[in-house]
């Protein structure tokens, strides 16, 4: 198995998502509040994982633009759960870098009045895996 296939399998396994269930309706991207920030949009994540195109995803800033709001998971008519894929790719990227981007110690400095607590929770969830 080459690296490409390995990565694909790893992400599918880690996310528990079956991207071939996608019927290309694009409701995930239609619903995504971070759409404009993302280079690769939720439906592209699904498609690219399905076709094994993981490298560009790993190197994309899109990984960190996803808000983990799970709207795509809620709306997807096929139960594909794109956010879980994004998360799995993110996790892979972070593991490859060998470091977490955020620790519990970093949180207190980030607490500011205009930062919503939900954001910190999401960030913590995202950057500690």
């Amino acid at each position: 198995m080459n690296n490409k296939e390995y990565l694909q399998e790893e992400i599918i396994r880690r996310s528990g998502v079956n991207p071939s269930k996608c019927m290309r309706c694009g409701k995930c991207s239609a619903t995504c509040p971070a759409y404009d920030e993302m280079e690769y949009h939720p439906h592209q994540f699904v498609n690219m994982v399905e076709s094994g195109d993981i490298e560009p995803l790993l190197n994309s800033e899109s990984l960190y633009k996803c808000l983990s709001c799970f709207a795509c998971i809620d709306r997807c008519p096929r139960n594909v759960e794109p956010a879980k894929l994004v998360e799995a790719v993110r996790l892979t990227a972070i593991r490859q870098q060998g470091a977490n981007r955020m620790t519990a110690n970093d949180v207190p400095q980030m607490i500011e009045e205009d930062v919503p607590p939900q954001l910190l929770v999401s960030a913590f969830r995202k950057y500690t895996k």
Binding site: K21, M23, C25, G26, S29, A30, Y35, H41, R75, P77
Partner: protein
């Protein structure tokens, strides 16, 4: 003791290539009961069959074993041969030495050995065979059609046309169904009412057809050719035979604020009402939940103005019992509820509507007299967004929506979009689609016309969110081809809601012992070869109760169901499959185990008097099987602890004998 003849077929070299047919016929000669054994090149050929017939005469055979191909191939052939020779056709057993022997084993020794054992098993079985005669039952030459939509109407008309009486049971006050609510029909754009209402009149005027409107089926007993059905005629508090449908009562009724079901609640009706102008029967109906007179005895205006004296506040539900030979299910469909789709704001904004509601909004007889106006403020919408596949093609685990494609939405959405652009060229029309599915005569041409000639904007993608803000609907959607997220300020959003079988179908299926799939669509007897028959004999399927369908398909299925019904009713007698279960009353405990596992409701119980050895009598509950209903699965035979229940053609003793022959 049986006198058995054994006929081993070579099937050219198909069998003889791997099985020593000579050795097989020789070995089987010494089996119990065998008086004659031979082999021949092609047993199924005319010469082979003649050989069997001659042997039957010459050796006084009472049973025949043919060692040949699968019984699924030629059992029927050899049964006919036996019958032609004067034997009961069920005295024939086949040993499958081709598909299950010569073709799967390469070695001559192995093949021959196995063929002999298979032959022995067939001989052991035929020794216990008994002549079977298929039962006969009469046919009541009247059909029942449940549901008075276009499917039911067409079926009833076709059956009546063949000269058989038909009854239609419709739960609404009028027949017509969903088609009566539609505006235009794709792909020809003729008006639904113009083509439907003449048919409704035909039904009303056809003397072979009776309409039970505002009625439902409450009980079904019996079986193919002989159904006993109880129809509940709900009290409509108006004498149907007296009412002239003049509408004076409706004008005078003071209860004005009742949501009008026919217009999907987009306007109001009175407590006494006629659903629409062309209703059949054109008779008023009083809504007992809204009428003051029925609720607290105050009012009575309608009775005062009715010159015909048709109003009867004391009317009671009526039960009618009737016999039928065939039942056609035509219960149709409904759009699914939009409650679980919060993202489209259906429950938050009046301007988010379903396609059926849009149909009423554009219908000349609808709440806006055909003018396309927003339900919220009555203004003309300038931007309309159509969303397809709302609740269709959902994953089963998603728990909202349906797994299947609702089939009709692509076409009616194209129709809505096209008609809107045609009548109001100043409107922008967007259609969000996942796939556009247009298999059908002139369907794709129609859709292309919407795009190319009428300038409907088809966007590959889905709407993710609709947010009402002031008097606009903020639509957030994706355009997958442009790889963009779109934000559209719409005035009206139209949802192509998935369709589902009518809620009345499930209890009806239970009454009919007809099977359904997990979506509550009726199952056909065979998905390809018997698409309009239910597996339950005598029950036929018409229209969307079997699966999503458009009008042309529904009408053709309705005609097909009618022809099946006519074929059944044209018979004076039905001959059944003789391989059915039967109960030995002397051994039956009357415990009901068999009845519980019978998928056809073929088993009934009665109290019978038995004479005991001590000359006293004893009354016992015993089972009996209706051979016309039983299909011969044998589930009851295993459920029966005493072994009183047995199956013709596959009796306990016969199967046991086969086991013994194989394990000898």
């Amino acid at each position: 003791m049986q006198r058995v003849g054994v006929f081993v077929c070579w099937c050219g070299s198909n069998i003889a290539g791997t099985v020593d047919v000579e050795a097989v016929s020789e070995a089987l000669k010494s089996e119990p009961g065998v008086v004659f054994s031979t082999n021949y090149q092609y047993m199924c050929s005319q010469a082979g069959q003649d050989m069997i017939k001659e042997a039957v005469k010459e050796h006084n055979l009472t049973g025949i074993v043919v060692c040949s191909c699968s019984p699924r191939m030629h059992e029927a052939t050899f049964r006919k041969t036996a019958a032609a020779a004067g034997l009961n056709p069920y005295m024939v057993e086949i040993a499958n030495i081709r598909e299950q022997c010569s073709w799967v084993h390469k070695d001559m020794l192995t093949g021959t050995e196995k063929a002999i054992i298979l032959g022995k098993a067939a001989i052991a079985k035929v020794n216990l065979n008994t002549p079977l005669t298929p039962g006969e039952s009469p046919v009541t030459k009247r059909a029942l059609v449940i549901g008075g939509g276009i499917a039911g109407i067409q079926t009833a008309l076709d059956i009546a046309d063949a000269g058989f009486p038909v009854d239609i049971v419709e739960k609404k006050p009028t027949i017509g169904g969903k088609m009566a609510q539609l505006d235009k029909t794709f792909p020809t754009l003729d008006c639904a009412a113009c083509i439907l209402t003449p048919k409704m009149v035909d039904v009303a005027q056809n003397e072979k057809i009776r309409i039970f409107s505002y009625s439902e089926v409450s009980e079904i007993k019996g079986f193919v050719g002989n159904f006993d059905v109880t129809i509940k005629k709900n009290a409509r508090f108006v004498k149907e035979d007296v009412c002239t449908g003049c509408g004076a009562c409706v004008d005078k009724c003071p209860m004005k604020k009742i949501p009008n079901e026919f217009n999907l609640g987009m306007d109001n009706r009175k407590a006494i009402y006629i659903p629409f102008a062309q209703a059949v029967p054109k008779v008023a109906t009083i809504d007992p939940n809204a009428c003051n007179m029925l609720k607290n005895g105050k009012c009575g205006l309608c009775a005062k103005v009715c010159t015909a004296g048709a109003i009867d506040y004391t009317q009671k539900d009526e039960y009618i019992e009737e016999k039928y030979g065939a039942i056609v299910v035509a219960t149709g469909f409904n759009p699914i509820s939009m409650d679980k789709f919060d993202e489209f704001a259906y429950n938050q904004s009046k301007d988010v509507i379903t396609s059926l509601e849009f149909e009423r909004l554009t219908n000349a007889a609808g709440p806006t007299a055909g003018k396309l106006l927003r339900p919220s403020d009555g203004k003309h919408p300038h931007t309309i967004v159509f969303v397809q596949c709302v609740g269709s093609r959902c994953d089963a685990c998603a728990e909202k929506g349906k797994e299947y494609c609702s089939k009709i939405c692509c076409m009616y959405t194209a129709k809505h979009a096209m008609l809107t652009r045609d009548k109001y060229p100043d409107t922008e029309v967007y259609v969000f689609y996942i796939d556009v599915r247009t298999p059908g005569k002139n369907f794709d041409e129609f859709y292309r016309r919407a795009v190319e000639e009428y300038g409907v904007k088809y966007i590959k993608g889905m709407v993710g969110k609709v947010t009402p803000e002031g008097d606009v609907l903020k639509v957030q959607a994706s355009d997958l081809i442009a790889n963009k997220q779109l934000h559209i300020d719409a005035d009206l959003v139209v949802l192509a809601a998935a369709i589902e079988p009518d809620k009345s179908a499930r209890p009806l299926a239970t009454m009919l012992t007809a099977s359904m799939d997990t979506n509550d669509f009726f199952t056909e007897a065979h998905p390809k070869l018997r698409p309009v028959e239910s597996p339950t004999a005598g029950v036929f399927l018409s229209g969307a109760c079997q699966g999503p369908k458009d009008i042309p398909e529904t009408v053709s299925q309705a005609g097909a169901a009618a022809s099946k019904v006519i074929g059944l009713l044209a018979k004076d007698k039905l001959t059944g499959n003789p391989c059915v279960a039967h109960s030995n009353e002397l051994m039956c405990n009357g415990c009901s185990s068999c009845e519980r596992v019978c998928p056809y409701g073929a088993i009934t119980y009665s109290d019978k008097e038995f004479r005991m050895p001590d000359r006293t009598t004893k009354i016992r509950r015993v089972a009996s099987v209706n051979p016309a209903v039983c299909q011969g699965c044998g589930a009851c035979t295993v459920a029966c602890p005493s072994g009183a229940m047995d199956l013709n053609g596959f009796a306990n003793s016969q199967i046991m004998a086969e086991v013994d022959a194989i394990c000898k």
